[in-house]
Symmetry: C2
Subunit: 276 residues, 2 copies
DNA sequence: CGGCTGCTTGATTACGCTCAAGATTAGTGG
DNA sequence: CCACTAATCTTGAGCGTAATCAAGCAGCCG
Protein backbone atom coordinates (compact mmCIF):
# COMPACT_ATOMS: atom_id res chain seq x y z
CA UNK A 1 0.00 0.00 0.00
CA UNK A 2 2.86 2.32 0.77
CA UNK A 3 4.80 3.11 -2.39
CA UNK A 4 8.06 5.02 -2.40
CA UNK A 5 6.14 7.99 -3.71
CA UNK A 6 4.09 8.07 -0.58
CA UNK A 7 7.13 7.91 1.58
CA UNK A 8 8.57 10.97 -0.06
CA UNK A 9 5.44 12.96 0.46
CA UNK A 10 5.32 12.08 4.10
CA UNK A 11 8.93 12.97 4.52
CA UNK A 12 8.10 16.39 3.17
CA UNK A 13 5.18 16.76 5.53
CA UNK A 14 7.44 15.78 8.34
CA UNK A 15 10.09 18.30 7.48
CA UNK A 16 7.48 21.02 7.16
CA UNK A 17 6.35 20.23 10.65
CA UNK A 18 9.76 20.74 12.14
CA UNK A 19 10.69 23.81 10.19
CA UNK A 20 11.27 26.33 12.92
CA UNK A 21 12.05 29.49 11.01
CA UNK A 22 9.13 29.56 8.59
CA UNK A 23 6.00 31.48 9.37
CA UNK A 24 3.99 28.29 9.57
CA UNK A 25 3.16 26.02 12.48
CA UNK A 26 5.96 24.40 14.32
CA UNK A 27 4.71 21.88 16.75
CA UNK A 28 7.79 19.75 16.98
CA UNK A 29 11.11 19.49 18.70
CA UNK A 30 14.52 20.31 17.39
CA UNK A 31 15.61 18.89 14.08
CA UNK A 32 18.35 16.93 15.79
CA UNK A 33 15.72 14.88 17.59
CA UNK A 34 14.38 13.56 14.35
CA UNK A 35 17.57 11.88 13.30
CA UNK A 36 17.81 9.67 16.33
CA UNK A 37 14.23 8.75 17.06
CA UNK A 38 15.09 7.33 20.44
CA UNK A 39 15.82 10.52 22.36
CA UNK A 40 16.16 10.03 26.06
CA UNK A 41 13.79 12.02 28.25
CA UNK A 42 16.64 14.08 29.68
CA UNK A 43 17.51 15.30 26.21
CA UNK A 44 13.93 15.92 25.11
CA UNK A 45 12.95 19.55 24.82
CA UNK A 46 9.55 18.75 26.31
CA UNK A 47 11.09 17.47 29.48
CA UNK A 48 9.65 20.35 31.52
CA UNK A 49 6.08 19.94 30.34
CA UNK A 50 5.78 16.22 30.14
CA UNK A 51 5.57 13.29 32.51
CA UNK A 52 9.23 13.54 33.61
CA UNK A 53 8.69 16.96 35.15
CA UNK A 54 10.13 16.90 38.66
CA UNK A 55 11.76 13.53 38.10
CA UNK A 56 15.53 13.58 37.68
CA UNK A 57 18.82 11.78 37.95
CA UNK A 58 18.63 8.05 38.46
CA UNK A 59 14.85 8.10 38.66
CA UNK A 60 14.53 9.73 35.27
CA UNK A 61 16.81 7.02 33.94
CA UNK A 62 14.41 4.36 35.20
CA UNK A 63 11.42 6.09 33.70
CA UNK A 64 13.28 6.45 30.47
CA UNK A 65 13.91 2.74 30.28
CA UNK A 66 10.26 1.73 30.28
CA UNK A 67 9.25 4.25 27.63
CA UNK A 68 8.92 2.97 24.10
CA UNK A 69 9.53 5.49 21.35
CA UNK A 70 7.37 4.84 18.37
CA UNK A 71 8.08 5.62 14.79
CA UNK A 72 6.22 8.65 13.52
CA UNK A 73 2.52 8.03 12.99
CA UNK A 74 1.08 9.34 9.75
CA UNK A 75 -1.82 11.73 9.33
CA UNK A 76 -5.04 9.79 9.80
CA UNK A 77 -3.45 6.90 11.67
CA UNK A 78 -5.05 5.83 14.91
CA UNK A 79 -2.91 5.60 18.01
CA UNK A 80 -5.67 3.58 19.60
CA UNK A 81 -9.34 3.09 18.93
CA UNK A 82 -12.45 3.12 21.07
CA UNK A 83 -12.87 -0.29 22.68
CA UNK A 84 -9.19 -1.17 22.52
CA UNK A 85 -7.81 -2.72 25.66
CA UNK A 86 -5.84 -0.29 27.77
CA UNK A 87 -2.15 -1.08 28.08
CA UNK A 88 -0.31 2.22 27.88
CA UNK A 89 -0.63 5.95 28.03
CA UNK A 90 0.98 8.11 25.35
CA UNK A 91 2.93 11.34 25.38
CA UNK A 92 2.90 13.44 22.23
CA UNK A 93 6.44 14.27 21.16
CA UNK A 94 5.76 16.11 17.94
CA UNK A 95 2.77 16.80 15.75
CA UNK A 96 -0.75 16.71 17.11
CA UNK A 97 -3.39 14.13 17.98
CA UNK A 98 -7.14 14.48 18.33
CA UNK A 99 -9.23 12.29 20.59
CA UNK A 100 -12.93 11.74 20.05
CA UNK A 101 -15.68 9.56 21.45
CA UNK A 102 -18.03 8.06 18.89
CA UNK A 103 -21.69 7.50 19.80
CA UNK A 104 -24.03 4.71 18.82
CA UNK A 105 -25.81 6.86 16.29
CA UNK A 106 -22.62 7.55 14.39
CA UNK A 107 -21.95 11.00 15.77
CA UNK A 108 -18.65 11.95 17.28
CA UNK A 109 -17.54 14.34 19.96
CA UNK A 110 -14.00 15.60 19.75
CA UNK A 111 -12.80 15.64 23.36
CA UNK A 112 -9.42 17.21 22.83
CA UNK A 113 -6.46 18.19 20.69
CA UNK A 114 -3.11 17.13 22.07
CA UNK A 115 0.10 19.00 21.44
CA UNK A 116 3.68 17.98 22.23
CA UNK A 117 4.23 17.31 25.92
CA UNK A 118 0.62 16.38 26.53
CA UNK A 119 -0.56 12.97 27.70
CA UNK A 120 -3.27 10.80 26.11
CA UNK A 121 -5.21 7.79 27.28
CA UNK A 122 -5.76 8.74 30.91
CA UNK A 123 -9.49 8.22 30.54
CA UNK A 124 -8.92 4.50 29.88
CA UNK A 125 -7.41 3.59 33.24
CA UNK A 126 -10.62 3.14 35.18
CA UNK A 127 -12.28 0.67 32.81
CA UNK A 128 -9.15 -0.77 31.19
CA UNK A 129 -10.74 0.05 27.84
CA UNK A 130 -10.18 3.12 25.70
CA UNK A 131 -13.41 5.14 25.65
CA UNK A 132 -12.15 7.21 22.75
CA UNK A 133 -10.18 7.01 19.54
CA UNK A 134 -6.91 8.89 19.10
CA UNK A 135 -6.18 9.98 15.56
CA UNK A 136 -3.08 11.72 14.33
CA UNK A 137 -3.80 15.06 12.64
CA UNK A 138 -0.42 15.17 10.92
CA UNK A 139 2.77 13.19 10.96
CA UNK A 140 3.45 12.95 14.66
CA UNK A 141 5.62 11.01 17.02
CA UNK A 142 4.62 9.70 20.41
CA UNK A 143 6.16 7.97 23.37
CA UNK A 144 4.33 4.89 24.59
CA UNK A 145 4.42 4.35 28.34
CA UNK A 146 3.25 0.90 29.47
CA UNK A 147 0.92 1.57 32.35
CA UNK A 148 1.73 -1.44 34.53
CA UNK A 149 5.40 -0.50 34.47
CA UNK A 150 4.50 3.09 35.22
CA UNK A 151 2.45 2.04 38.23
CA UNK A 152 5.38 0.05 39.59
CA UNK A 153 7.68 3.00 39.18
CA UNK A 154 5.13 5.20 40.90
CA UNK A 155 5.73 3.35 44.15
CA UNK A 156 9.48 3.61 43.85
CA UNK A 157 9.63 7.23 42.70
CA UNK A 158 7.56 9.64 44.79
CA UNK A 159 8.08 12.50 42.38
CA UNK A 160 6.71 10.39 39.55
CA UNK A 161 3.56 9.48 41.41
CA UNK A 162 3.13 13.13 42.24
CA UNK A 163 3.57 14.14 38.61
CA UNK A 164 1.03 11.55 37.49
CA UNK A 165 -1.49 12.96 39.95
CA UNK A 166 -0.73 16.45 38.70
CA UNK A 167 -1.11 15.50 35.06
CA UNK A 168 -4.42 13.80 35.69
CA UNK A 169 -5.63 16.65 37.85
CA UNK A 170 -4.76 19.13 35.13
CA UNK A 171 -6.74 17.07 32.66
CA UNK A 172 -9.77 17.21 34.95
CA UNK A 173 -9.32 20.95 35.37
CA UNK A 174 -9.01 21.53 31.63
CA UNK A 175 -12.15 19.56 30.94
CA UNK A 176 -14.06 21.54 33.53
CA UNK A 177 -12.97 24.71 31.76
CA UNK A 178 -14.22 23.24 28.52
CA UNK A 179 -17.55 22.39 30.14
CA UNK A 180 -17.88 26.06 31.03
CA UNK A 181 -17.19 26.99 27.44
CA UNK A 182 -19.74 24.53 26.06
CA UNK A 183 -22.34 25.42 28.64
CA UNK A 184 -22.15 29.20 28.82
CA UNK A 185 -20.38 30.73 25.84
CA UNK A 186 -21.68 31.81 22.44
CA UNK A 187 -20.06 30.98 19.12
CA UNK A 188 -17.82 34.05 19.05
CA UNK A 189 -16.53 33.50 22.57
CA UNK A 190 -15.92 29.83 21.90
CA UNK A 191 -13.74 30.34 18.87
CA UNK A 192 -11.85 33.20 20.50
CA UNK A 193 -11.20 31.08 23.58
CA UNK A 194 -10.08 28.22 21.38
CA UNK A 195 -7.57 30.35 19.52
CA UNK A 196 -6.23 31.72 22.77
CA UNK A 197 -5.86 28.24 24.20
CA UNK A 198 -3.87 27.08 21.19
CA UNK A 199 -1.81 30.25 21.25
CA UNK A 200 -1.01 29.83 24.94
CA UNK A 201 0.00 26.22 24.48
CA UNK A 202 2.27 26.99 21.53
CA UNK A 203 3.94 29.71 23.54
CA UNK A 204 4.75 27.36 26.40
CA UNK A 205 6.41 25.07 23.89
CA UNK A 206 8.63 27.84 22.67
CA UNK A 207 6.77 28.71 19.49
CA UNK A 208 5.15 31.90 18.40
CA UNK A 209 1.89 32.64 20.17
CA UNK A 210 0.76 34.94 17.39
CA UNK A 211 1.48 32.91 14.27
CA UNK A 212 0.73 29.24 13.97
CA UNK A 213 -0.95 26.57 11.91
CA UNK A 214 -4.05 24.73 12.97
CA UNK A 215 -3.54 21.09 12.15
CA UNK A 216 -7.20 20.22 12.62
CA UNK A 217 -10.02 20.78 10.13
CA UNK A 218 -12.81 23.32 10.57
CA UNK A 219 -15.03 20.33 11.11
CA UNK A 220 -12.94 19.16 14.06
CA UNK A 221 -12.87 22.63 15.55
CA UNK A 222 -16.62 22.94 15.24
CA UNK A 223 -17.16 19.54 16.72
CA UNK A 224 -14.87 20.31 19.64
CA UNK A 225 -16.56 23.64 20.30
CA UNK A 226 -20.10 22.36 19.90
CA UNK A 227 -20.67 24.43 16.75
CA UNK A 228 -21.57 23.71 13.13
CA UNK A 229 -18.74 23.93 10.61
CA UNK A 230 -20.48 26.82 8.92
CA UNK A 231 -20.53 28.77 12.15
CA UNK A 232 -16.81 28.27 12.68
CA UNK A 233 -16.17 29.48 9.16
CA UNK A 234 -18.34 32.53 9.65
CA UNK A 235 -16.62 33.40 12.91
CA UNK A 236 -13.21 33.17 11.30
CA UNK A 237 -14.42 35.52 8.61
CA UNK A 238 -15.84 37.90 11.18
CA UNK A 239 -12.60 37.95 13.19
CA UNK A 240 -10.69 38.62 10.01
CA UNK A 241 -13.03 41.41 8.92
CA UNK A 242 -12.64 42.98 12.35
CA UNK A 243 -8.88 42.86 12.05
CA UNK A 244 -8.45 40.63 15.05
CA UNK A 245 -6.81 37.77 13.20
CA UNK A 246 -5.55 36.99 9.73
CA UNK A 247 -6.61 33.58 8.54
CA UNK A 248 -5.50 31.74 5.45
CA UNK A 249 -6.71 28.21 5.43
CA UNK A 250 -4.84 26.45 8.26
CA UNK A 251 -2.58 29.39 9.01
CA UNK A 252 -3.57 31.84 11.71
CA UNK A 253 -1.97 35.12 12.64
CA UNK A 254 -3.27 36.92 15.71
CA UNK A 255 -3.19 40.65 15.05
CA UNK A 256 -4.91 42.00 18.14
CA UNK A 257 -4.35 39.74 21.14
CA UNK A 258 -5.97 42.24 23.46
CA UNK A 259 -9.20 42.27 21.51
CA UNK A 260 -9.19 38.51 21.12
CA UNK A 261 -9.12 38.25 24.90
CA UNK A 262 -12.09 40.56 25.14
CA UNK A 263 -13.95 38.53 22.52
CA UNK A 264 -13.30 35.37 24.51
CA UNK A 265 -15.30 36.91 27.34
CA UNK A 266 -15.18 35.98 30.98
CA UNK A 267 -12.73 33.36 32.09
CA UNK A 268 -12.91 31.26 35.22
CA UNK A 269 -11.62 33.30 38.13
CA UNK A 270 -8.79 30.81 38.48
CA UNK A 271 -7.53 31.22 34.93
CA UNK A 272 -5.49 34.27 35.84
CA UNK A 273 -2.90 32.43 37.92
CA UNK A 274 -2.99 29.42 35.68
CA UNK A 275 -0.26 29.17 33.10
CA UNK A 276 -1.57 26.30 31.07
CA UNK B 1 -26.98 34.56 62.83
CA UNK B 2 -27.92 30.99 63.64
CA UNK B 3 -30.75 30.88 66.13
CA UNK B 4 -31.94 27.67 67.79
CA UNK B 5 -34.84 27.66 65.38
CA UNK B 6 -32.41 27.15 62.53
CA UNK B 7 -30.77 24.26 64.27
CA UNK B 8 -34.05 22.48 64.65
CA UNK B 9 -34.91 22.91 61.02
CA UNK B 10 -31.63 21.52 59.91
CA UNK B 11 -32.03 18.57 62.18
CA UNK B 12 -35.31 17.85 60.44
CA UNK B 13 -33.69 18.12 57.03
CA UNK B 14 -31.08 15.71 58.17
CA UNK B 15 -33.56 13.14 59.37
CA UNK B 16 -35.42 13.40 56.08
CA UNK B 17 -32.25 12.63 54.26
CA UNK B 18 -31.62 9.44 56.15
CA UNK B 19 -35.18 8.21 56.20
CA UNK B 20 -34.94 4.97 54.28
CA UNK B 21 -38.51 3.76 54.21
CA UNK B 22 -40.23 6.84 52.85
CA UNK B 23 -40.91 7.28 49.19
CA UNK B 24 -38.54 10.21 49.03
CA UNK B 25 -34.87 10.44 48.20
CA UNK B 26 -32.43 8.64 50.41
CA UNK B 27 -28.88 9.60 49.67
CA UNK B 28 -27.33 8.57 52.93
CA UNK B 29 -25.93 5.60 54.73
CA UNK B 30 -27.52 3.57 57.45
CA UNK B 31 -29.05 5.38 60.39
CA UNK B 32 -26.59 3.71 62.72
CA UNK B 33 -23.77 5.55 60.95
CA UNK B 34 -25.21 8.87 61.98
CA UNK B 35 -24.99 8.19 65.67
CA UNK B 36 -21.28 7.52 65.69
CA UNK B 37 -19.91 9.99 63.18
CA UNK B 38 -16.52 8.40 63.13
CA UNK B 39 -17.23 5.20 61.23
CA UNK B 40 -14.17 3.33 60.09
CA UNK B 41 -13.83 2.72 56.36
CA UNK B 42 -14.23 -1.02 56.82
CA UNK B 43 -17.64 -0.49 58.37
CA UNK B 44 -18.76 2.12 55.90
CA UNK B 45 -21.42 1.03 53.46
CA UNK B 46 -19.71 2.97 50.69
CA UNK B 47 -16.55 0.98 51.07
CA UNK B 48 -16.96 -0.63 47.65
CA UNK B 49 -17.49 2.61 45.72
CA UNK B 50 -15.10 4.89 47.48
CA UNK B 51 -11.39 5.39 47.76
CA UNK B 52 -10.79 2.24 49.85
CA UNK B 53 -11.98 -0.02 47.04
CA UNK B 54 -9.38 -2.72 46.57
CA UNK B 55 -7.55 -1.75 49.74
CA UNK B 56 -7.97 -4.10 52.69
CA UNK B 57 -6.62 -5.48 55.91
CA UNK B 58 -3.73 -3.62 57.44
CA UNK B 59 -3.54 -1.20 54.53
CA UNK B 60 -7.12 -0.14 54.98
CA UNK B 61 -6.33 0.46 58.60
CA UNK B 62 -3.54 2.85 57.62
CA UNK B 63 -5.77 4.72 55.19
CA UNK B 64 -8.44 4.91 57.82
CA UNK B 65 -6.08 6.57 60.25
CA UNK B 66 -5.31 9.56 58.06
CA UNK B 67 -8.94 10.27 57.22
CA UNK B 68 -10.69 12.95 59.17
CA UNK B 69 -14.41 12.61 59.56
CA UNK B 70 -16.13 15.93 59.62
CA UNK B 71 -19.31 16.86 61.33
CA UNK B 72 -22.26 17.14 58.99
CA UNK B 73 -22.13 20.25 56.81
CA UNK B 74 -25.36 22.15 56.53
CA UNK B 75 -27.23 23.05 53.37
CA UNK B 76 -25.50 26.00 51.74
CA UNK B 77 -22.21 25.54 53.56
CA UNK B 78 -19.06 25.53 51.47
CA UNK B 79 -16.66 22.63 51.82
CA UNK B 80 -14.09 24.76 50.09
CA UNK B 81 -14.16 27.83 47.91
CA UNK B 82 -12.55 28.81 44.67
CA UNK B 83 -9.05 30.11 45.36
CA UNK B 84 -8.65 28.19 48.61
CA UNK B 85 -5.32 26.46 49.04
CA UNK B 86 -5.44 22.76 48.33
CA UNK B 87 -4.78 20.53 51.30
CA UNK B 88 -7.17 17.63 51.08
CA UNK B 89 -9.59 15.79 48.88
CA UNK B 90 -13.04 14.91 50.15
CA UNK B 91 -15.26 11.87 49.97
CA UNK B 92 -18.99 12.37 50.27
CA UNK B 93 -20.41 10.09 52.93
CA UNK B 94 -24.01 11.21 52.92
CA UNK B 95 -26.04 13.97 51.35
CA UNK B 96 -24.89 15.70 48.18
CA UNK B 97 -22.47 18.40 47.14
CA UNK B 98 -22.36 20.58 44.05
CA UNK B 99 -19.17 22.00 42.61
CA UNK B 100 -19.12 25.04 40.40
CA UNK B 101 -16.56 27.36 38.83
CA UNK B 102 -17.39 31.05 39.02
CA UNK B 103 -16.29 33.37 36.21
CA UNK B 104 -15.09 36.94 36.33
CA UNK B 105 -18.39 38.28 35.04
CA UNK B 106 -20.32 36.71 37.87
CA UNK B 107 -21.59 33.71 35.98
CA UNK B 108 -21.19 30.18 37.27
CA UNK B 109 -20.84 26.79 35.69
CA UNK B 110 -21.93 23.84 37.77
CA UNK B 111 -19.33 21.17 37.04
CA UNK B 112 -20.83 18.32 38.98
CA UNK B 113 -23.14 16.92 41.62
CA UNK B 114 -21.47 14.54 44.03
CA UNK B 115 -23.26 11.69 45.75
CA UNK B 116 -22.07 9.42 48.56
CA UNK B 117 -18.92 7.52 47.66
CA UNK B 118 -17.76 10.15 45.19
CA UNK B 119 -14.58 12.16 45.53
CA UNK B 120 -14.21 15.95 45.32
CA UNK B 121 -11.27 18.27 44.89
CA UNK B 122 -9.23 16.29 42.39
CA UNK B 123 -9.08 19.28 40.07
CA UNK B 124 -7.06 21.20 42.66
CA UNK B 125 -4.00 18.96 42.76
CA UNK B 126 -2.21 20.40 39.75
CA UNK B 127 -2.25 24.04 40.84
CA UNK B 128 -2.54 23.53 44.60
CA UNK B 129 -5.52 25.86 44.48
CA UNK B 130 -9.18 24.93 44.29
CA UNK B 131 -10.53 26.05 40.90
CA UNK B 132 -14.10 25.56 42.04
CA UNK B 133 -16.34 25.99 45.04
CA UNK B 134 -18.01 23.00 46.69
CA UNK B 135 -21.38 23.74 48.27
CA UNK B 136 -23.52 21.34 50.21
CA UNK B 137 -27.00 20.91 48.74
CA UNK B 138 -28.41 19.45 51.93
CA UNK B 139 -27.09 18.36 55.29
CA UNK B 140 -24.23 16.12 54.26
CA UNK B 141 -21.24 14.48 55.81
CA UNK B 142 -17.84 14.13 54.22
CA UNK B 143 -14.50 12.52 54.92
CA UNK B 144 -11.51 14.78 54.59
CA UNK B 145 -8.38 13.08 53.29
CA UNK B 146 -5.18 15.14 53.67
CA UNK B 147 -3.47 14.87 50.33
CA UNK B 148 0.15 14.84 51.50
CA UNK B 149 -0.60 11.89 53.75
CA UNK B 150 -2.46 10.19 50.94
CA UNK B 151 0.50 10.60 48.61
CA UNK B 152 2.78 9.01 51.19
CA UNK B 153 0.45 6.09 51.59
CA UNK B 154 0.28 5.75 47.83
CA UNK B 155 3.91 4.68 47.75
CA UNK B 156 3.45 2.15 50.51
CA UNK B 157 0.17 0.71 49.32
CA UNK B 158 0.11 -0.26 45.63
CA UNK B 159 -3.63 -0.92 45.63
CA UNK B 160 -4.25 2.59 46.96
CA UNK B 161 -2.18 4.25 44.25
CA UNK B 162 -4.03 2.16 41.72
CA UNK B 163 -7.39 3.17 43.14
CA UNK B 164 -6.40 6.84 43.08
CA UNK B 165 -5.51 6.53 39.40
CA UNK B 166 -8.80 4.80 38.75
CA UNK B 167 -10.83 7.40 40.58
CA UNK B 168 -9.14 10.23 38.70
CA UNK B 169 -9.46 8.42 35.41
CA UNK B 170 -13.15 7.90 35.99
CA UNK B 171 -13.52 11.59 36.67
CA UNK B 172 -11.88 12.38 33.34
CA UNK B 173 -14.10 9.88 31.59
CA UNK B 174 -17.27 11.24 33.18
CA UNK B 175 -16.37 14.76 32.17
CA UNK B 176 -15.76 13.68 28.60
CA UNK B 177 -19.22 12.15 28.59
CA UNK B 178 -20.60 15.41 29.86
CA UNK B 179 -18.76 17.27 27.11
CA UNK B 180 -20.55 15.10 24.61
CA UNK B 181 -23.85 15.94 26.23
CA UNK B 182 -23.18 19.68 26.20
CA UNK B 183 -21.81 19.63 22.68
CA UNK B 184 -24.24 17.39 20.84
CA UNK B 185 -27.51 16.87 22.70
CA UNK B 186 -30.71 18.90 22.66
CA UNK B 187 -32.64 19.96 25.76
CA UNK B 188 -34.80 16.84 25.90
CA UNK B 189 -31.86 14.48 25.59
CA UNK B 190 -29.89 16.40 28.19
CA UNK B 191 -32.52 16.22 30.88
CA UNK B 192 -33.29 12.57 30.13
CA UNK B 193 -29.60 11.69 30.33
CA UNK B 194 -29.31 13.61 33.57
CA UNK B 195 -32.20 11.75 35.18
CA UNK B 196 -30.74 8.44 34.06
CA UNK B 197 -27.35 9.34 35.45
CA UNK B 198 -28.83 10.16 38.85
CA UNK B 199 -30.98 7.05 38.75
CA UNK B 200 -28.00 4.83 37.95
CA UNK B 201 -25.92 6.33 40.71
CA UNK B 202 -28.66 5.92 43.31
CA UNK B 203 -29.08 2.32 42.30
CA UNK B 204 -25.39 1.57 42.81
CA UNK B 205 -25.71 2.95 46.31
CA UNK B 206 -28.54 0.63 47.13
CA UNK B 207 -31.40 3.05 46.70
CA UNK B 208 -34.35 2.98 44.36
CA UNK B 209 -33.47 3.87 40.79
CA UNK B 210 -37.07 4.81 40.01
CA UNK B 211 -38.00 7.02 42.95
CA UNK B 212 -35.73 9.65 44.35
CA UNK B 213 -35.41 13.27 45.37
CA UNK B 214 -33.29 15.78 43.52
CA UNK B 215 -31.44 17.81 46.11
CA UNK B 216 -30.43 20.47 43.60
CA UNK B 217 -32.59 23.32 42.33
CA UNK B 218 -33.91 23.62 38.78
CA UNK B 219 -31.44 26.43 38.40
CA UNK B 220 -28.53 24.14 39.26
CA UNK B 221 -29.79 21.47 36.89
CA UNK B 222 -30.13 23.98 34.07
CA UNK B 223 -26.72 25.40 34.76
CA UNK B 224 -25.14 21.96 34.78
CA UNK B 225 -26.88 20.97 31.55
CA UNK B 226 -26.24 24.24 29.75
CA UNK B 227 -29.94 25.12 29.65
CA UNK B 228 -32.10 27.97 30.93
CA UNK B 229 -34.19 27.24 34.02
CA UNK B 230 -37.33 27.71 31.99
CA UNK B 231 -36.26 25.04 29.56
CA UNK B 232 -35.62 22.55 32.34
CA UNK B 233 -39.03 23.28 33.75
CA UNK B 234 -40.68 22.83 30.35
CA UNK B 235 -38.90 19.53 29.80
CA UNK B 236 -40.02 18.19 33.16
CA UNK B 237 -43.56 19.13 32.25
CA UNK B 238 -43.25 17.45 28.87
CA UNK B 239 -41.86 14.26 30.38
CA UNK B 240 -44.69 14.24 32.87
CA UNK B 241 -47.33 14.86 30.21
CA UNK B 242 -45.88 12.00 28.19
CA UNK B 243 -46.12 9.71 31.20
CA UNK B 244 -42.39 9.08 31.32
CA UNK B 245 -41.88 10.48 34.80
CA UNK B 246 -43.95 11.83 37.65
CA UNK B 247 -42.50 14.99 39.10
CA UNK B 248 -43.55 16.83 42.20
CA UNK B 249 -41.16 19.55 43.14
CA UNK B 250 -37.93 17.78 44.13
CA UNK B 251 -39.41 14.34 44.00
CA UNK B 252 -39.05 12.28 40.83
CA UNK B 253 -40.62 8.96 39.97
CA UNK B 254 -39.53 7.29 36.75
CA UNK B 255 -42.54 5.56 35.23
CA UNK B 256 -41.13 4.41 31.89
CA UNK B 257 -37.42 3.72 32.13
CA UNK B 258 -37.35 2.25 28.64
CA UNK B 259 -38.73 5.40 27.08
CA UNK B 260 -36.47 7.63 29.15
CA UNK B 261 -33.52 5.78 27.69
CA UNK B 262 -34.82 6.39 24.21
CA UNK B 263 -35.34 10.07 24.98
CA UNK B 264 -31.76 10.31 26.20
CA UNK B 265 -30.66 9.36 22.69
CA UNK B 266 -27.34 7.93 21.66
CA UNK B 267 -24.80 7.15 24.31
CA UNK B 268 -21.07 6.85 23.84
CA UNK B 269 -20.31 3.38 22.49
CA UNK B 270 -18.47 2.58 25.70
CA UNK B 271 -21.36 3.36 27.98
CA UNK B 272 -22.84 -0.12 27.60
CA UNK B 273 -20.14 -1.89 29.61
CA UNK B 274 -19.78 0.95 32.01
CA UNK B 275 -21.65 0.62 35.26
CA UNK B 276 -21.14 4.09 36.66
C1' DC C 1 -49.65 36.76 57.39
C1' DG C 2 -46.47 38.99 54.17
C1' DG C 3 -42.30 38.91 51.67
C1' DC C 4 -39.16 36.09 49.27
C1' DT C 5 -37.34 32.75 46.52
C1' DG C 6 -37.99 29.13 43.37
C1' DC C 7 -40.80 27.19 39.87
C1' DT C 8 -43.98 27.22 35.98
C1' DT C 9 -46.14 28.99 31.89
C1' DG C 10 -46.67 32.07 27.90
C1' DA C 11 -45.02 35.26 24.12
C1' DT C 12 -41.36 36.90 21.51
C1' DT C 13 -36.77 37.04 19.81
C1' DA C 14 -32.31 35.61 18.23
C1' DC C 15 -28.53 32.69 17.67
C1' DG C 16 -26.84 29.18 15.42
C1' DC C 17 -28.35 24.94 12.64
C1' DT C 18 -29.78 23.09 8.38
C1' DC C 19 -30.02 23.04 3.64
C1' DA C 20 -28.01 24.42 -0.64
C1' DA C 21 -24.75 26.01 -3.87
C1' DG C 22 -20.33 27.55 -5.22
C1' DA C 23 -15.26 28.08 -4.47
C1' DT C 24 -10.92 26.43 -3.25
C1' DT C 25 -7.74 22.98 -2.13
C1' DA C 26 -5.87 18.40 -1.73
C1' DG C 27 -5.41 13.96 -3.39
C1' DT C 28 -5.18 10.58 -7.30
C1' DG C 29 -4.23 8.65 -11.57
C1' DG C 30 -3.27 9.02 -16.36
C1' DC D 1 2.89 17.53 -14.96
C1' DC D 2 -1.66 18.24 -15.58
C1' DA D 3 -6.51 16.86 -15.34
C1' DC D 4 -10.01 15.00 -12.75
C1' DT D 5 -12.32 13.90 -8.52
C1' DA D 6 -13.18 14.21 -3.84
C1' DA D 7 -13.00 16.70 0.20
C1' DT D 8 -12.97 20.86 2.62
C1' DC D 9 -14.24 25.41 3.18
C1' DT D 10 -17.02 29.56 2.46
C1' DT D 11 -21.19 32.14 1.78
C1' DG D 12 -26.17 32.76 1.60
C1' DA D 13 -31.18 32.00 2.85
C1' DG D 14 -34.63 30.22 5.84
C1' DC D 15 -35.93 27.97 9.85
C1' DG D 16 -36.14 25.97 14.54
C1' DT D 17 -34.75 25.44 19.17
C1' DA D 18 -33.98 27.31 23.18
C1' DA D 19 -32.94 31.98 25.39
C1' DT D 20 -34.97 36.00 26.98
C1' DC D 21 -38.51 38.75 28.77
C1' DA D 22 -42.57 39.00 31.51
C1' DA D 23 -46.07 37.56 34.57
C1' DG D 24 -48.32 34.56 37.76
C1' DC D 25 -48.16 30.85 41.11
C1' DA D 26 -46.68 27.99 44.97
C1' DG D 27 -43.97 26.84 48.79
C1' DC D 28 -40.93 28.43 52.49
C1' DC D 29 -39.44 31.15 56.27
C1' DG D 30 -39.33 34.96 59.05
Amino acid sequence: MLGPRNTVIHAIDWRDTINRDSGTAKMSEKVVDIAKIKVACQNCSLHQLCLPMGVDGEDLQKLDEIIKRRRPVKRGDDLFQVGDGFRAIYAVRSGSIKTYTPTHDGQEQVTGFHLPGEILGLDAISNSIHPCTAKSLETSSVCEIPFDRLEELGHQIPSLQRQMFKVMSREIFEEESHMLLLGKRNAEERLAAFLLSVSRRFKRRGFSDTEFNLSMSRNDIGNYLGLAVETVSRMFTRFQDDGVVEVDRKSVKILDMERLHRLAGAMPVQQSNCSA
